[in-house]
């Protein structure tokens, strides 16, 4: 029996744009409906390439998401999408494919497909062939057949869908007479999972997209490439302790949350006083490598508590983390911010344990910049992690 509330659905998509185009002609959208325990992901491939295709694909994903979310009849939804898409002036048709994953955790998962390569369902790295599948054809659009599959997802299952830029990769090369094809893609993914059984959805999506690119003649992106992966799994939890508790008598309970047996996979301690509390209560020592100072780029160097996790300065570092996440750029971030971001990206659930005691020294008018209040930064981080990076974020105040 699945424990629904403790499962995490990782939804990722990697997209590569056709060479010479300024926009990808495929589009991906996802939504997590927390109240319904439901996750929806849509991938669409617009006719042609570039801006025009992007527009078709984007209109399709947006409409599909809206219709599916409101449980509208599938056939009617598809007809509305096809009626609405603008007609290409050269080809005199309007067209965009789609694959929709509508997953109810603990319940049924519906896969609705039109025009994309058939999806892949993997369990224990073996392909599960859909048992419950039907075809739907609109009277008004008889050449646009839809396939609707119903399946049950179990912990560890993966769903993979892609645009034809993946299955047709390699066309024109002797060894890929008919392209990479779905079976080539499937074998590649199974080999990946054999090597790394817990590989994330993000890593699979990226590996597939770049493998498709490398198969193409001269490694050129001859068509837009997209790979969307859903992975249902036990969440990887990152816990971030920051700020001293409002009441000193809670220090011990607060510090105990940094212990490995407290349920988190990884722990970061952000803040000097916070680190001191953990050191004192857990009788341990922070180690800071001064050699990192040379590379610290405006933030105090990160340290570690052996057996517990990373230690960094608090407000400045978290502010930098929030800014870098908002700008989607951390390649050149200072080590303290970079290590936090990388651990966030490798986790599904981020738990902030926030001590609310205010450090009066932070209000010193001599400080060269205004320091953000801790709670505000955590709110900023929560927003960006949820909206931009699909992380599940919880905040607990102490």
């Amino acid at each position: 029996m699945m424990k629904n509330d403790s499962l995490f659905v990782e939804m990722e998509c990697c997209q590569l744009t056709k060479d010479g185009q300024s926009a990808c002609g495929d589009d991906f959208q996802w939504e997590r409906l927390e109240n319904e325990n439901r996750n929806i992901a849509v991938l669409s491939d617009g006719l042609g390439s570039g801006i025009k295709a992007n527009l078709l694909a984007n209109m399709t994903t947006t409409m599909a998401m809206k219709f599916i979310r409101s449980n509208m009849d599938i056939l009617q939804s598809a007809e509305t999408i096809m009626d609405t898409l603008p007609v290409c002036e050269y080809r005199k048709i309007s067209y965009a494919t789609f694959t929709i994953f509508d997953m109810q955790i603990g319940g049924k998962t519906k896969v609705i497909e039109m025009g994309n390569p058939p999806f892949i369902h993997l369990r224990h790295n073996i392909e599960i062939v859909p048992q419950n599948q039907k075809k739907l054809v609109s009277e008004r659009w008889p050449d646009r057949e839809m396939t609707i599959s119903e399946l049950r997802m179990e912990v560890g299952d993966r769903l993979i869908a892609c645009s034809d830029g993946v299955t047709q990769a390699g066309l024109g090369r002797r060894e890929y007479k008919f392209g990479w094809q779905r079976r080539g893609e499937l074998k590649f993914i199974q080999d990946l999972i054999t090597r790394e059984p817990n590989i994330s959805a993000k890593d699979i999506a990226q590996a597939v997209a770049y493998e498709a690119l490398s198969i193409n003649k001269d490694h050129k992106c001859i068509d837009d490439i997209s790979c969307m992966v859903i992975y249902l799994r036990n969440p990887r939890v990152l816990r971030i302790l920051t700020g001293p508790p409002f009441r000193k008598e809670n220090d011990r309970e607060f510090a105990a949350l940094a212990l490995p047996e407290s349920g988190a996979n990884k722990v970061i301690i952000c803040g000097g006083t916070t680190a001191n509390i953990v050191e004192r209560e857990l009788r341990t020592r922070v180690e800071i490598d001064l050699k990192l100072v040379r590379f610290s780029k405006g933030l105090p160097p990160p340290g570690k508590i052996p057996g517990i996790g990373t230690v960094t300065e608090g407000i400045l570092t978290l502010t930098r983390v929030a800014t870098d996440l908002e700008n989607d750029s951390w390649e050149d971030s200072p080590p303290a911010a970079k290590t936090i971001i990388e651990q966030m990206m490798d986790s599904d659930v981020i738990e902030f344990i926030v001590g609310t005691k205010v450090n009066e020294a932070h209000q010193d008018p001599n400080l060269p910049i205004d320091l953000e209040i801790r709670r505000n930064i955590i709110k900023r981080l929560q927003d960006v992690l949820k909206q931009k990076y699909r992380k599940h974020v919880t905040i607990k105040y102490y």
Partner: protein, 90 residues
């Protein structure tokens, strides 16, 4: 018996870092080579001195357990020099 090293602990807390500890953390690269074996420099997450009204201003450094406020590379070097002088060699 070998003389104990001079222990220098630099506070890496937010206020200290902003008011000069960033520079102090480079102390190891700044001090003369002949002092390097005589000092032991480490970074501390926070000395928690800035929250007290009566201990002076950030940045704070502890030298052989003694707290120094408004620390700078110059004042820390002076202090090291002073300790070395009392020990009879520099």
């Amino acid at each position: 018996m070998e003389e104990q090293k001079i222990k220098i602990e630099i506070c890496c807390g937010t206020a200290c870092y902003m008011l000069g500890a960033a520079e102090l953390l480079r102390l190891e690269n700044i001090i003369p080579d002949q002092w390097k074996d005589a000092v032991d420099i480490s970074a501390i997450p926070c000395l928690e001195a800035c929250s007290s009204d009566n201990l002076g201003g950030a940045p704070f450094v502890k030298i052989n357990g003694e707290l120094m406020s408004n620390a700078s590379v110059e004042s820390v070097c002076e202090k090291i020099f002073e300790i070395m002088k009392t020990r009879g060699g520099h």
